[in-house]
């Protein structure tokens, strides 16, 4: 039953979602609303599951003194601090001037922005050491990157200001984005969509069962 019930739920929900797209009338519209609400509820529970799992792993790392267990302490302390502050301030915890907002604005926002900003440093270092025109495809990629990166910032047009408007780097970057890039994206999207359709059908019909765990 541990496998049959999830397979049954997946099959029914999947078929209803497909049918309601083409027949948006009773009973499919009601079932669609019902299942969509359930999806929100299940996802909200999944957030709690994620939080509890993160705490469990962090406590295990601290208890067993695994590598970098100090970071696990930071996770637990940060989690508890922001949760306690948030719960203590009640429903208006996100209002301007609350301690939660202060933590969000001056601790969480700069720290997470910094983590993302570090990417710029690694991109520069990696491009110096690894982005090479080794073959035709890599050269094409490199040239496209070169023109788009320059064309997407005003300095590109400053460097080509002596040329007619349609030949300036911003125009070239727009052309690359609108035509070769879009064509490539469409090909990828169509491929992904076909893959999703076939995988979804396999899951809905119960042929694909790996997501249930336990092999096959």
């Amino acid at each position: 039953m541990r496998r049959e019930i999830p397979l049954f739920i997946t099959g029914v929900v999947g078929i209803v979602f497909v049918l309601q797209y083409f027949i948006p009338h009773f009973p499919f519209n009601k079932m669609n609303a019902w299942f969509s609400d359930w999806f929100s509820i299940v996802q909200a529970c999944a957030i709690w599951l994620g939080v509890l799992n993160l705490l469990k792993i962090s406590f295990q790392n601290i208890g067993r003194r695994k590598d970098d267990w100090g970071y696990a302490i930071v996770i637990v302390v940060s989690f508890l601090a922001i949760s306690i502050v948030g719960f203590a301030e009640g429903e208006a915890f996100r209002d301007s001037g609350t301690s939660f907002t202060w933590l969000y604005d001056y601790i969480y926002t700069p720290l997470s922005s910094s983590m993302f900003a570090i990417l710029a440093f690694f991109v520069a270092s990696a491009s110096y050491r690894a982005f090479r025109a080794r073959n035709f495809e890599a050269t094409l990629l490199l040239l496209a990157a070169f023109f788009v990166m320059l064309g997407r910032v005003p300095i590109g047009d400053v460097l080509t200001s002596f040329m007619p408007d349609q030949l300036q780097l911003s125009s070239l970057a727009t052309w690359i984005m609108n035509f070769p890039q879009t064509a490539g994206q469409r090909a990828i999207m169509i491929g992904i969509a076909l893959g999703i359709v076939s995988t979804s059908l396999r899951i809905i019909l119960g042929v694909e069962r790996s997501h249930l765990g336990g092999g096959d």
Binding site: S40, Q43, E91, F121, A124, R134, R152, P154, T174
Partner: protein, 337 residues
């Protein structure tokens, strides 16, 4: 000296530097500290001359260390804040069409703004959000805010606070619940959009602070997307613009404009070309162009010089690396060797 000690020293220097800069900023001493245009050009020339030295070293087979590359990026990003160089910002067609879609809206139109991002993407998306809200409030458009990402509504509050600091907007004495509403976050990704197509209230029975939906005057008559005139999605990934196109545009026919991170924007261009998206703001450059159109100079415009420098430095390193690679390959193919 061990690597750990060196790292600690560098970390201490950076921390002390940040504290000094913060202290200068807090006491107002940074205000007005700018290089003259001539000095800015000299500093830029020095940076690029030093890159020529890097090229020569690389050609001699001495690849510079990654820490030096990091230093170049840090200089390239931070020094332009103090430079007095102006660059002309050109409006791209996709930004113009997005703005035109907004400009067509009559006074009192309802604009739904979906904040689907979190702080890591805020440097690119927050300037877009601020200029959009400034435009809406200045032109008497009603704003309904929501988020499919948990941090979205908090980012919305920050953007609204920034917009409200403008004198022209503050003088309008705009009221929460009448001129704007923050519906908060709802879990469920694209299913939230789908349910909003039939009834907003089913997904947002209360606003972000727990006030009942029916008590909010602005949305009392908003049942689904047919009561919304324009949807603007600020997105940094999933769920985001693609889901809004696939559900809100394709099923319910909403007018959708989008602001994306530079990384995500290319994925949305097929929807732009097919007409499913009215327009798109891509990365900080898109934000700067939008600021120029709306007439509010914000962080997008201010940071464009840094962005230009950072791009130039990354491109310089790509070129240097490739010149060295090509010369090295020729040497290896040479019969003398």
């Amino acid at each position: 000296m061990s690597t750990r000690t060196k790292e600690l020293i560098v970390l201490s220097i950076v921390t002390v530097f940040c504290i000094i800069v913060y202290w200068f900023k807090a006491t107002g001493r940074m205000h007005g500290f700018q290089f003259s245009t001539g000095m800015s050009i000299v500093v830029s020339a020095l940076i690029f001359l030093s890159l020529v030295v890097v090229l020569i070293l690389t050609l001699k087979g001495r690849l510079i260390g990654r820490r030096l590359v990091f230093l170049y990026v840090a200089i390239g990003v931070s020094l332009p804040f103090f430079m007095s160089i102006t660059q002309e910002i050109k409006i791209s067609p996709e930004v113009q069409t997005l703005y035109d879609g907004l400009a067509e809206l009559p006074t009192g139109s309802k604009v739904l703004v979906a904040f689907d991002y979190d702080p890591p993407s805020a440097p690119e998306l927050q300037p877009m959000a601020e200029s959009l809200l400034r435009y809406c409030f200045n032109n008497d458009l009603k704003v309904v805010v929501m988020g499919l990402w948990p941090q979205g509504p908090q980012q919305a509050n920050m953007a609204i606070e920034a917009a409200m600091r403008d004198e022209s907007i503050a003088s309008k004495n705009l009221q929460y619940g009448v001129d704007w509403v923050n519906l908060g976050f709802q879990s469920g990704n694209e299913f939230v959009i789908q349910r909003m197509g039939s009834e907003f209230k089913s997904m947002f029975p209360t606003d972000y602070a727990g006030r009942p939906y029916d008590e909010l005057e602005l949305v009392q008559n908003v049942h689904n997307f047919s009561n919304i005139d324009y949807v603007f999605n600020l997105s940094a990934g999933f769920p985001g613009t693609i889901e809004w196109v696939q559900v809100a545009v394709d099923r319910y026919g909403v007018k959708l404009g989008a602001g994306n991170t530079a990384v995500q924007a290319p994925q949305c261009y097929p929807y732009l070309r097919s007409g499913q998206l009215i327009g798109i703001l891509g990365g900080m450059n898109g934000a700067a162009e939008f600021e120029l159109l709306t007439g509010f100079t914000g962080k997008g415009t201010k940071f464009m010089l840094s962005q230009s420098f950072a791009h130039m430095i990354v491109l310089s390193f790509i070129l240097i690396g490739n010149v060295a690679f090509i010369i090295d390959r020729r040497k290896k193919k040479s019969p003398i060797r």
